[in-house]
Amino acid sequence: MGKITLNQVRKSFGEVDVIPGIDLTINEGEFVVFVGPSGCGKSTLLRLIAGLEDTSGGIIQIDGMDATDLPPAKRRLAMVFQSYALYPHMSVRKNIAFPLKMAGMDAAEQDKRVNHAAKILNLGAYLDRRPGQLSGGQRQRVAIGRAIVREPAAFLFDEPLSNLDAALRVSMRQEISELHQTLKTTMIYVTHDQVEAMTMADKIVVLNAGRIEQVGSPMDLYRSPANLFVAGFIGSPKMNLIDGAEAAKHDATTIGIRPEHITIGGDGPWEGVVGLSEHLGSDTFLKVNAGALGTLTVRASGEVMMHHGDTIRMAPQPGKILRFGADGNALA
């Protein structure tokens, strides 16, 4: 239950090809994250899967059945929206019970399921309130509750945490991950935040301008990005990308090295002048002006005391340099 296959799925709005053609398999029980910059078509893809938009071409299969032309209600998918989309005129209990009511379930069973969901999500005390009387995090939980009572084949999340403050976002992130551990149901999660993608996903799908740039586990993408786009998008701070003579030494058009893979001190081959330094306590990020190499971001662990204007030497850690060709794709 919960395997979703996209075969050459396309979507255009009028003249504009928002999604030119996507092939993707989402396995049962997987936590898949669609990540990419704003406007790249993540929401559109999710809404195609949900059935809220018609495809312009291609086939969507859910559990082996062609669902391309099924209305949303028949796809057995549940969705959590960015705005939560709670029914403002209904109590929390009625909100959560709404899909069950629509399915014609009897009242006793409805109650049982609502209470069960409320227990999982710690909503017991709020069941008789209206959404307007809840905090952002609580509303988010109600939206999730409304999704889980239906026991859907898969959950769809569209940037569910982007309306929450930073601290709450971290804890909700963990709650959703735990929920996935408990339910073991397929989840598709859309975000533009690569940290969310890295921390939550079993499988990340990186999208750019409606195309899939790479599919893989978080560590796959981190260790071996398929191209410059993924290299630049995954990882924080961003990977350093260097072209020119230094890249040519490695037989590449561009080379990439992550900030955490540059060692400071000793007699490293690179030299630069420290510009800005950001002290986070556990880490220090330095912006180093390295002449022909451009500005490099370097991560120094702990309390390394560097100052503006210091000249330092740096060395890339062995085997950590990634090479890219003229077309932007990674070289083997």
Binding site: G51, L52, E53, D54, P71
Partner: protein
């Protein structure tokens, strides 16, 4: 939002409204247009003949037409002047803080809810009647001769009655616009050292311009077809002194049974209204995009 399924449903649910309005637009208006080219008198059924533009010719060339046209314009302009100027002043006054704002607001709006036949009759009998009306009583108590408003100044009297009905509308809309003025913008201007007058001229007036335009256009649409007020006060008279286009068409078709001539008049009224409507639609259309 849109899938083929929901689009089909949308089309289905939209169609009753569209079809009904389409019929309402086309059928009677088409018939009016058709009649306007016939010699057609209700007293002589079955004698209809096609006469081309003759009805238009006679309708336009009767002396009553030109007086009706000028009465229509005077009525519209007169009421507009009173209601817009009065509305602005009243709105500015009511926008100030004072005790009992809510109650005064209610008092000012009330005339708009009075049905036209009631307000016309009340003004005609209780106020403008030369014997027992309040104005007559007041004149007499000052030792003056009572004035017979509806006989000697019929159009002006009707303007007064209609303006009384529409002043609340203008006031209400302008007051709403005033209250949606950006307070922070006003405060910023005050910090910048702008006094009351510059703030009024450079911030308030531009903000009100749009609402004033809306008031003018919407009132014009309604004022072009004032009817009940004339019917129950003067019946268009004396002579044609208070006959407007709407009343003339009514008199020609239903009082004189001249369907052809009345229809030609109706088409002329439609054309007149459309000229105003085009401006109004532009305004509202622009607003729809914003």
């Amino acid at each position: 939002m849109a899938t083929a399924h929901s689009r089909t449903a949308a089309r289905l649910m939209l169609s009753p409204a569209v079809i009904l309005l389409l019929l309402w637009m086309i059928v009677p208006l088409g018939m009016t247009l058709y009649f306007s080219f016939l010699r057609y008198n209700l007293l002589m059924p079955g004698m209809e003949t096609f006469v081309g533009f003759e009805n238009y010719y006679y309708f336009v060339n009767q002396p009553a037409f030109w007086s009706a046209l000028s009465n229509t314009l005077i009525l519209v302009l007169g009421v507009l002047c009173i209601t817009v100027v009065g509305g602005i002043l009243l709105a500015l006054l009511l926008d100030q803080p004072f005790w009992g704002q809510g109650i005064v607001r209610v008092l000012v709006i009330a005339p708009f809810f009075v049905m036209p036949t009631v307000s016309a009759l009340v003004w005609k009998n209780m106020f403008m009647n030369p014997v027992n009306g309040m104005f007559a009583h007041m004149a007499k108590s000052l030792g003056l001769q009572p004035f017979d408003f509806l006989s000697h100044a019929p159009l002006a009297s009707i303007i007064l009655i209609v303006a009384w009905q529409w002043l609340p509308f203008a006031t209400l809309i302008l007051l709403t616009a005033l209250q949606s003025l950006d307070r922070e913008q006003q405060e910023a201007a005050e910090m910048d050292g702008a006094g009351w007058l510059p703030r009024f001229v450079y911030l308030t007036v531009p903000h009100l311009t749009r609402s004033i335009t809306v008031v003018i256009l919407i009132q014009t649409i309604f004022l072009l077809s004032v009817f009940a007020e004339i019917l129950v006060t003067t019946n268009g008279g004396p002579g044609t002194a208070s006959t407007n286009l709407t009343y003339l068409v009514y008199a020609q078709s239903l009082l004189n049974y001249d369907v052809g001539g009345g229809s030609a008049g109706g088409i002329i009224a439609v054309i007149l209204a459309n000229i105003v409507a085009i401006f109004l639609m532009r305004m509202i259309g622009k607003n729809l995009e914003a």
